[in-house]
């Protein structure tokens, strides 16, 4: 184990050796207060508005990948060994404004300008990967960027125009080899532990190192994407020391596919999981694209979404409906449990001190199984579920329900199966009459609460109606609102 008091990373064009002032120091505060890189703004300090969007370059199995993140909830020490790129680094081939910036000016994409640097960084992140985005691609890339002035239309126009002008010789492209080499030089195979004036930071080099750290510090705060823990600090000013950062661990980012299942390492981000899910379980694509915004999907992990035990996480309901299993590890010991049994009660999970979620294995639905995941929220994109219903329906040859697994988020203190509804349907003919007859069983399974997202009444009514929607959908009746752009 290496111990010291500094972390190292690249910031725009320079190498930074920094002594964190606290375990909870955020990247945004470092940029603005320490470096006076004031182009990156604080709008909400909770990863929702995107005014603080920066790019993080990291080596993913040796390959340099850039992704947009929210600097406000990203802990500074978690960028150890990464390349942080802010708006100040963006320029065109001739040293003038970058094509994205030019297009934003030409198409009048900024009014008050406060959200603009974040928007520019999000569009840059999009266009690096996709220089010919559709409106839907642009919407998706901007889910995590709020603009209160423009109404987004001119920004979308700018995005389309900029794609055509993207050049290969922008700074990140021309620096690529040098940055890759510099970052490679920062990687070690030893845990780095940093003592700060306010708390201790552990940065393991691999999952074994993590297991060791947790053996010594069973109550350490485990931080992967920081999309939840970040708010513990920015909103609640909680002390998270000692903290262990795991978002960079390649061996927790493994995705293993077999014929009938996919195993995701706990550190697989939503973004990294998306292509595999799109190929193997396409019924989850729409839901997946509605988890947070792009920055959150780049940061947040499947393991974190499960481990934090939220009753309104978006991944547990579909994974429970599919019969997923969770593998937990403590030291060298591993155990595997059904995902649904991990959630014991509100704020209480089946995880002992020093134990961590290592992976989740998700069965791929068998041919003929109808899988649906319906997320209901006040706003379609970048909103937390009011409720989320997931259904895995298998019909027998005679049209009766051979099996159905239903799981809901937002309807109880934990993600929870609708066992009574399932029982009311299993073996019945899959007809509207059976569906209508099963609806009252929802009241046996759930007693939802009223809060700012929805009333209990609405939750119950729409939960029932989601089963009706499933029936309509299997009948071929259009039930999905067309959100395409003309």
């Amino acid at each position: 184990m290496a111990s010291g008091d500094t972390i190292r990373f690249l910031l725009n064009g320079e190498t930074v050796e920094h002594r964190p002032g606290a375990a909870h120091e955020t990247l945004l505060d470092f940029l603005r207060l320490n470096r006076r890189l004031t182009g990156t703004k604080e709008g909400c300090a909770e990863g929702d508005c995107g005014a603080c969007t920066v790019l993080i370059g990291r080596l993913s199995r040796g390959e340099l990948v850039y992704e947009t993140v929210n600097a406000c909830i990203r802990f500074l020490a978690s960028v150890h060994g990464c390349h942080v790129v802010t708006i100040e680094h963006l320029r065109g081939a001739d040293g003038g404004p970058h094509p994205v910036q030019q297009a934003m000016v030409a198409h009048h994409g900024a009014q008050c300008g406060f959200c603009t640097p974040g928007i520019v960084m999000s569009l840059y992140g999009l266009l690096m990967q996709n220089p010919a985005p559709t409106d839907i691609d642009i919407d998706r890339a901007l889910q995590g960027n709020l603009c209160r002035c423009t109404g987004y239309a001119p920004i979308a126009r700018a995005a389309k125009a900029a794609g055509a002008e993207m050049t290969k010789d922008d700074p990140l492209a021309s620096e690529r080899a040098a940055v890759t080499e510099a970052l490679a030089g920062m990687q070690t195979d030893e845990t780095l532990s940093v003592e700060t004036p306010e708390g201790t930071i552990h940065i393991p080099a691999n999952a074994d190192g993590l297991a060791d750290i947790l053996a010594d510090n069973p109550d350490a705060t485990i931080v992967a994407g920081a999309t939840d823990v970040g708010l513990w600090v920015t909103k609640f000013m909680r002390d998270i020391s000692p903290v262990v950062f795991i978002g960079h661990l390649d061996d927790l980012k493994m995705i293993e596919e077999t014929g009938d299942a996919i195993t995701f390492g706990a550190g697989v981000s939503y973004t990294d999981a998306a292509p595999v899910l799109a190929r193997r379980i396409p019924a989850l694509t729409e839901l997946w694209d509605r988890i947070g915004g792009t920055q959150i999907r780049n940061m947040g992990t499947i393991g974190g979404n499960i481990a934090n035990g939220s009753p309104i996480g978006d991944t547990p309901p579909p994974f429970i409906a599919l019969g997923a299993e969770l593998t937990l590890r403590k030291g060298g010991d591993r155990r595997t449990i059904p995902l649904e049994s991990f959630f014991i009660d509100y704020g209480k999970q089946d995880r002992s001190p020093g134990e961590f979620v290592e992976s989740i294995t998700v069965p791929v639905p068998a041919e003929g199984t109808h899988l649906a995941a319906y997320k209901i929220s006040k706003r379609f994109d970048e909103d937390i579920s009011a409720l989320l219903g997931a259904f895995a329906l298998a019909l027998a040859g005679d049209g009766t329900v051979e099996d159905i697994r239903i799981a809901f988020g937002g309807m109880a203190a934990t993600p929870k199966r609708a066992s009574s509804v399932e029982d009311a349907l299993r073996g019945k003919p899959w007809t509207e009459a059976s569906v209508m007859a099963a609806l009252s069983a929802f009241e046996t399974d759930f007693t939802p609460i009223s809060d700012m997202r929805a009333s209990a009444d609405y939750r119950m009514r729409s939960a029932k109606n989601l089963l009706r929607r499933l029936w309509h959908e299997t009948e071929g009746t259009p039930v999905r609102i067309d959100r395409g752009v003309a």
Binding site: H108, R379, R483
Partner: protein, 779 residues
């Protein structure tokens, strides 16, 4: 870089006026400086507020020892530390303390401030306070306030014309109803912030994110107990305002200034997003109760309506806001007999404030609900009812406030849009779709806007500007307006550039400062370019007149042979580079600086009588919105929106189009997903973007066609015959709510008015669908 012009304006003349926002390059590069980006003086301290945790209570004990003892803390301020008045009330009502003294009046009311060496330290320390309360009864809603006796924060208004009772009684049909109209958080991306730097004597300089520097100056002086001449307030730009920085910055500037003088250090205060949303006012939520008499053709005979607003604990701007609601309840429609009453109710909630439209949207949507009621009662297309009630024709041009509408272009706007948006065919297609689609339903609606331009407080309709030309020909432009993204500065700069015939880059737009232009009005009421553009033109004219006199005298040419064009001054047959001519004038001791002034003519308002001509002119527009809803969940999408909007003869069509597009989306947010939720303890539960949902990119209409009415010219001699544009487009979004309503109505064969309250969240849509299905089943 080719600036996009063709899709914004059709005529070459309009295209020539297009210029990007003056700060556009700085915006996209992260170089535009906001208050939090200003280099702070050495030793700058940071203040943070401690907020009350009761809606209505007496403070029985306050222990701040732990706050004082916390790491980094320099001091604590409470009400007793305020040298002047403990009051930041914008209207002089003296009902809005900086810090609560003995009584807490809303959950989130500031009680103290802690000053520390870092913002983080101050923020952490603020949480260590121990305050004990004795709870008092709290009225949190309009209904509760009425039940407690209906205490008002300010004098209500009645607008009345004709014999209402008689006209209601004699009308062939009558109906009554009510509507809940939600509030709205401004959600400016840059939150409230002030930086105060102490100076010698009583002096203090404040950098603030405010729409109203003169008021900040006045309030800081008031709170410090020093004259206004000791206080200078500077604003380069805001990261959004929308009305939320008209008065709501007073508190923060006052705290920063008091702390700065107390500790003799610069002090910055920036609440986090949650505290910003909890402790500052929002758009007023209203309850409108209406009774309308009408005939079988859908023509209104009489309207009697009460607009009750939840104003919060203090008056703030609730008087003029609720007044403006009444001024816009008529929208584009002639009301033969009418009585409109406001009820500005005091509640134990945050004091609501200005927000784009300033009560107008709430009044207008109440009026449009009445139109909708009539249409459903008669089985007519609401558009038909609208047309039948438009102002126009003999004896049908008088508003409820007795101003005659003389510039009415509503019908032309409506008919042009009806045609270009293909409204009739699309309405048929929607009706047809709904007969065939069991779960998904569509709706379409065309609604117009007529919005009155001028502050209804007549004295606010004045502005100043300060113009210097330096010897090198560069121009320093300053005016009393503030830049919050709306493009005011570029518009005013364009006016000045045109006056002198110089390129735009000759002009330096400088930060608004109370030391340069005094006694300014808030940049509000859409008035920014009307007032400040004219004031700047007046300053330019003064200097130009001196330059022309100098040319006449020096070169002996007649006045009509002198022109300022293409960066040159033409004097008879000679042409001088502008800078060279300026240098000549300097050498001849010509004054190259001028203070400009403007006041809006021909307006008057007698509030007691409810009569006058408060508006200089009206701005018009109309929108067609088409939506699709899911009747199983209440979810929806806005499929297509077409807008035709009147900005008069545009000063800058790109800026104006941006205001129309952005204003519409903000209005759509107000009426759809932006729901403010308070719990029964009076705590705001939606105090951050995780819970308060403004539109995102995918909420924009899936097809969005916005056109400016290039044929329109202001009939009044405004600056270049343009019209104000900040607020009017906001109300175009009423078409979205009504389209959603039509989709809901489809489940009961359009025979029941859905009476959809705002905001129409998916929950409200589903509940309305199920209510109508149940009512239809009982029929």
């Amino acid at each position: 870089m080719t600036i996009e012009k063709r899709r914004i304006a059709g005529s070459p003349e309009w295209q020539a006026r297009i210029s990007p926002h003056d700060s556009a390059l700085k915006h996209v590069s992260g170089l535009a400086e906001y208050t939090d980006d200003i280099v702070s003086p050495e030793g700058t301290l940071h203040a943070y507020l401690g907020l009350a945790e009761r809606a209505h209570a007496r403070i029985t004990a306050m222990d701040l020892d732990a706050v004082r003892a916390a790491s980094g803390v320099v001091g604590v301020l409470t009400a007793s530390d305020i040298p002047g008045a403990n009051d930041v009330s914008s209207t002089g009502a003296h009902d809005e303390p900086v810090f609560a003294e003995t009584e807490v009046l809303f959950h989130g009311m500031p009680v103290f401030a802690v000053i520390a060496t870092t913002r983080d330290a101050a923020r952490r320390a603020a949480r260590l306070a121990r305050i004990e309360y004795e709870d008092l009864p709290a009225d949190l809603t309009v209904e509760a306030a009425r039940a407690s006796g209906g205490d008002l924060v300010t004098e209500p208004l009645t607008l009345e014309r004709g014999k209402v009772e008689a006209a209601l009684a004699s009308a062939p049909r009558r109906l009554s109803g009510s509507m809940q109209i939600g509030g709205q958080d401004h959600f400016y991306l840059e939150g409230q912030i002030s930086l105060a730097i102490p100076g010698e004597d009583d002096d203090v300089t404040v950098f603030a994110s405010t729409q109203h520097p003169s008021e900040i100056q006045h309030i800081v002086g008031h709170v410090l107990g020093v004259p206004s001449n000791a206080v200078t307030v500077n604003v380069r730009r805001m990261g959004g305002g929308f009305g939320g920085k008209e008065t709501q910055g007073n508190l923060f500037a006052a705290v920063a200034a008091v702390a700065a003088k107390r500790f003799n250090r610069a002090v910055k205060i920036r609440p986090d997003r949650d505290d910003d949303m909890i402790a500052t006012g929002k758009r007023h939520d209203f309850r409108a109760d209406y009774e309308v008499g009408f005939d079988d053709q859908g023509r209104i005979h009489a309207l009697d309506a009460v607009f009750a607003a939840r104003c919060g604990f203090a008056a703030d701007l609730s008087g003029p806001v609720t007044d403006r609601a009444l001024f816009h309840a008529d929208n584009c429609y002639f009301l033969p007999a009418v009585r409109l009453k406001s009820e500005p109710l005091r509640t134990h909630t945050v004091s609501n404030t200005a927000f784009r439209g300033f009560g107008g949207p709430q009044g207008m949507i109440g009026g449009e609900r009445v139109i909708e009621e009539i249409a459903y009662a008669l089985g007519l297309d609401p558009l038909e009812v609208r047309k039948r009630n438009l102002y126009g024709g003999e004896g049908r041009n008088l508003t409820p406030y007795h101003q005659t509408v003389t510039d009415n272009i509503a019908l032309r706007i409506i008919e042009e849009l009806e045609e270009t948006a293909d409204y009739q065919a699309r309405r048929k297609a929607v009706l047809d779709f709904n007969t065939k689609s069991p779960v998904l339903k569509r709706g379409i609606a065309l609604t117009p806007v007529k919005f009155g331009i001028s502050f209804t407080a007549t004295w606010f309709n004045q502005a100043g500007a300060l113009l210097h030309i330096y010897r090198d020909g560069s121009i320093h432009l300053n005016h009393g307006g503030t830049e919050m993204g709306q493009g005011l500065n570029i518009k005013v700069a364009q006016v000045v550039a045109a006056e002198f015939g110089v390129p735009l880059d000759t002009i330096k737009i400088t930060a608004t400062s109370t030391g340069k232009v005094p006694n300014t009005s808030a940049t509000a009421a859409s008035s920014g370019s009307d007032l400040n553009g004219m004031a700047a033109a007046n300053a330019a004219d003064q200097i130009k007149d001196r330059l022309i006199d100098f040319a006449i005298e020096t070169y002996d040419v007649p006045r009509d042979q002198i022109a300022f064009e293409e960066g040159e001054v033409r004097v008879g047959n000679q042409r001088f580079v502008f800078a060279d001519f300026v240098e000549q004038a300097y050498q001849a001791r010509i004054q190259l600086s001028a203070a400009g002034f403007y006041k809006t003519p021909d307006i008057s308002w007698d509030r007691k009588a409810g009569k006058g001509s408060p508006f200089y002119y009206f701005a018009y527009g109309a929108a067609v919105s088409e939506v699709e809803i899911d009747t199983l969940t209440g979810e929806y999408v806005v499929r297509r929106v077409d807008i035709l909007h009147d900005v008069g003869s545009s000063l800058n069509p790109a800026i104006d189009l941006g205001q129309v597009e952005g204003g519409f989306i903000q209005g759509m947010g107000w009426l759809t997903t932006e729901e403010l939720v308070w719990d029964d303890k009076g705590r705001l539960r939606t105090h951050a973007p995780s819970t308060y949902k403004i539109p995102v990119s995918s909420d924009r209409p899936r097809e969005f066609n916005v056109t400016l009415a290039e044929w329109s010219k202001n009939t009044r001699p405004t600056i270049r015959r343009s019209k104000a544009v900040g607020e009017p487009p906001f109300m175009l979004a009423i078409s979205v709510l009504e389209a959603l309503s039509m989709a809901v109505a489809s489940v009961a064969d359009y025979s029941i008015c859905p009476r959809l309250d705002a905001p129409a969240t998916p929950e409200r849509i589903l509940m309305a669908v199920e209510r109508l299905q149940a009512e239809q089943a009982l029929k």
